[in-house]
Symmetry: C2
Subunit: 443 residues, 2 copies
């Protein structure tokens, strides 16, 4: 994994000139992350050479859309090109770092690079996730490495941890706050009692949410990342399409306040659990017990909680986004590639096969808020509907005066099957109550 | 780092018999951790073979003191030996896992193994820390790998993270709760208001503290681990002898209660900071702001907080001790060694050189408790002594009625130099006040 260095410091310094080696790389794209990687490699040039056996990293070509557009990242004009071939077909370039984002042409370019025997480092969760089998196969066939630490959770080294340190255990659970935008919004709603739309608008003004926030707030971003994490954790392809997904757009300040009173914090949680050859893989708003290690991960921070048989629980927290933290993960991958690593986990061919059955009938707890007619006998009828499907109530709260003759009833269930809850809800008599929200609970 | 696997699942299964390779290893010692590794490797046999290209791991010899002593770990009698040569000189054994603990003969045995070209995996922080330069040199010279993830913080993969994912950044701060026994004791004292000796006695009864707890409660265990972490984080030898060390035996329930009222939680914290070529490396009881990510790490859990320029803050939390969590780290190292990794960080020869100046005159905040005569003018005289050394007071608390004519005064300073505080304290007039405790504060 590292260089077979057999010399010592003093000799090393003298020999440096002779041993100096160069890694010639190309960038696909040069947005915020690409620019961050460029600056980081410049800034660390001396230390990298000193530690990595005289290694010099030269960025030879950078693919951009418009070579004449003004740029602040410091990449000189002469390395810019708008022809992908200049990067992908240059035999001198042995490593390609991809920052285009999106599915295509990123996936095709990576495939071409791998087939040409070039190492590929990517920060692109979507292209990786949707084309993993092909990319992985191409990497295995050509022997070129494929690295993607930066595709999930920025500076948090969860990919490398799964692919190295956790190879000796059976991981049975991955839970994560892996989208910064939604965590910022939910933290804001929890702290201030504001509604979703207002906090989103604030976040957009601060640049913490995209002008079109769909991929974040509807959970797609988290689902891509969870598909990658669960595939690695469970040694099986877990396709994006099999990740259950529910966003935060329907979350209300009222639910957050009710949950808080009952001891829960609302998070957009990515959850993957494995039991034998059955798995559940889901992204949805989740009430977390306020003592859960993830309940206090606020704002733009990300965190991943893993559980394995021999290692027990491990939690990693850090900057899940941001140009420089993400760039640091890309740069670390480039250095690992330079040092001879492959990036591929042991048994990487398994990532091409679906070896698990993904079920949507998981068992968890539920927070249910109903608005019900304020009349005697209502509670009994509601409870009966749940009982008929075997859903048992652990806690109930009615609070505040009736509005328009209706009251808010909040139930927390004991562990129940998703399907049983979904069967129970339509049983509730429409004339006396309406389901306002159903939020899953993890303790 | 991983096998250059270029085949796919179906073929792989057929080829397994042909490609099957065996890693023959020897154990030095077979206590709780060694036994755990044995069981883990047995338990994971099939999955390891499936993922690692048909790899089989055979433990050929296990060095123990008494071959006939009863053992519960399941190691068969015929592999046991009481002669170290049977492990160290067997040419078939290519990897030695060391579980003897203590400095000698563990360090000598590891050195012999490395010089014979055998890979070494160790969980022994003391032997590693005190003989790192020799061990490192032997590994670099023979090209054999040296792995020590399990020597620091059990299942928390902080070593591998430093040696791979953080190579692209400059780490300037490492702070950790890296000793489970003291964290258990301080958590107990904080929760129940009990005194040190009582909680220690409880912990000993529960097996959470050693009958002779010195290495834990005096901070030696944490200092060994911090020497290792800071050496790797700062790319320089940081010898154990240069780690400032203060244990928890003098900590009182009263101080913990005062601190709690002012918003602080007491932890035995390991702290390493770097600024250019100057470093501070210290283990001592520390009041942490209760919102600090490490303030809520309770009981037998360990956590490490790192800060680097490009990656910002990263926190890892998990089981820092325990047979199986620690065994999982050893087993992961064995698998990495089998897959061709060296365990050595890039520029590993730097670990043989002291490249930083370790200073004991750090700058931090201080909690100072004085017992003072309850009379007018006392406070002014005390404050004046601090002022004369440039130590400025940020908060003060006087609480409770006078006992024996004396009151408890608690001060929190602004940032101050350690040496200035040490000069200020003897200035305090003995006739009117006595320094009861000085505890450093991190926010």
């Amino acid at each position: 994994m590292m260089f077979p260095v057999r010399r010592f410091a003093e000799e090393a310094r003298e020999e440096q000139i002779i041993h100096m080696k160069e890694l010639v790389i190309g960038f696909l794209g040069c947005g915020n992350i690409g620019g961050g990687v460029w600056r980081l490699l410049e800034d660390m040039r001396e230390e990298i050479a000193e530690r990595f056996d005289g290694l010099g990293i030269r960025v030879k070509r950078v693919l951009v859309r418009r070579v004449n557009a003004p740029r602040s990242c410091g990449v000189p004009r002469e390395v810019l090109t708008d022809r992908a071939e200049d990067v992908l077909e240059d035999p001198e370039i042995s490593l390609v770092a991809e920052f285009l984002g999106g599915e295509q042409p990123a996936a095709d370019y990576m495939l071409r690079a791998l087939r040409a025997g070039k190492q590929v480092v990517t920060a692109n969760k979507m292209a990786l996730c949707l084309h993993w089998a092909e990319l992985n196969r191409a990497a295995l066939e050509s022997g070129a490495g494929l690295f993607y630490e930066a595709s999930v959770c920025g500076a948090i080294p969860v990919i490398r941890m799964l692919n190295t340190s956790l190879q000796s255990v059976r991981v049975d659970r991955v839970m994560g706050i892996i989208n910064g935008t939604t965590n910022y919004i939910l933290t804001g709603m929890s702290a201030g009692g504001a509604e979703y739309a207002d906090v989103l608008a604030d976040a957009q003004q601060l640049g913490l949410a995209e002008p079109n926030p769909e991929s974040d707030v509807e959970g797609m971003d988290a689902a891509f990342k969870l598909a990658i994490l669960s595939s690695l954790a469970f040694h099986s392809a877990v396709p994006y399409a099999k990740v259950y997904r529910e966003g935060i757009t329907h979350v209300t300040a009222r639910d957050i306040a009710f949950g808080a009173e009952m001891g829960y914090t609302l998070k957009l949680l990515a959850i993957a659990k494995r039991d034998g050859d059955r798995a559940e893989v889901r992204v949805h708003p989740t009430f977390l017990d306020r003592h859960h290690p993830l309940a206090r991960v606020d704002g733009a921070f990300n965190a991943v909680y893993l559980h394995g048989d021999a290692c027990d629980a491990i939690t990693l927290q850090g900057r899940g986004a941001g140009d420089l933290p993400t760039a640091s993960a890309v740069a670390a991958d480039i250095l690992q590639a330079a040092a001879g690593a492959s990036g591929l986990p042991a048994g990487g061919e398994r990532l091409c096969e679906e070896r698990l059955t993904v079920s949507e009938n998981w068992t968890t707890r539920y927070f249910l808020r109903l608005s019900a007619v304020d009349a005697p006998g209502v509670l009994a009828r509601v409870a009966d509907c749940f009982a008929q499907e075997g859903v048992s109530i652990a806690a109930m709260m009615q609070k505040g005066a009736a509005e328009d003759g209706r009251v808010q009833l909040v139930f927390i269930t004991h562990l129940a099957e998703e399907e049983a809850v979904r069967r129970a809800l339509p049983r509730l008599p429409e004339d006396i109550c309406r389901v306002e929200s159903m939020i899953r609970v993890e303790i």
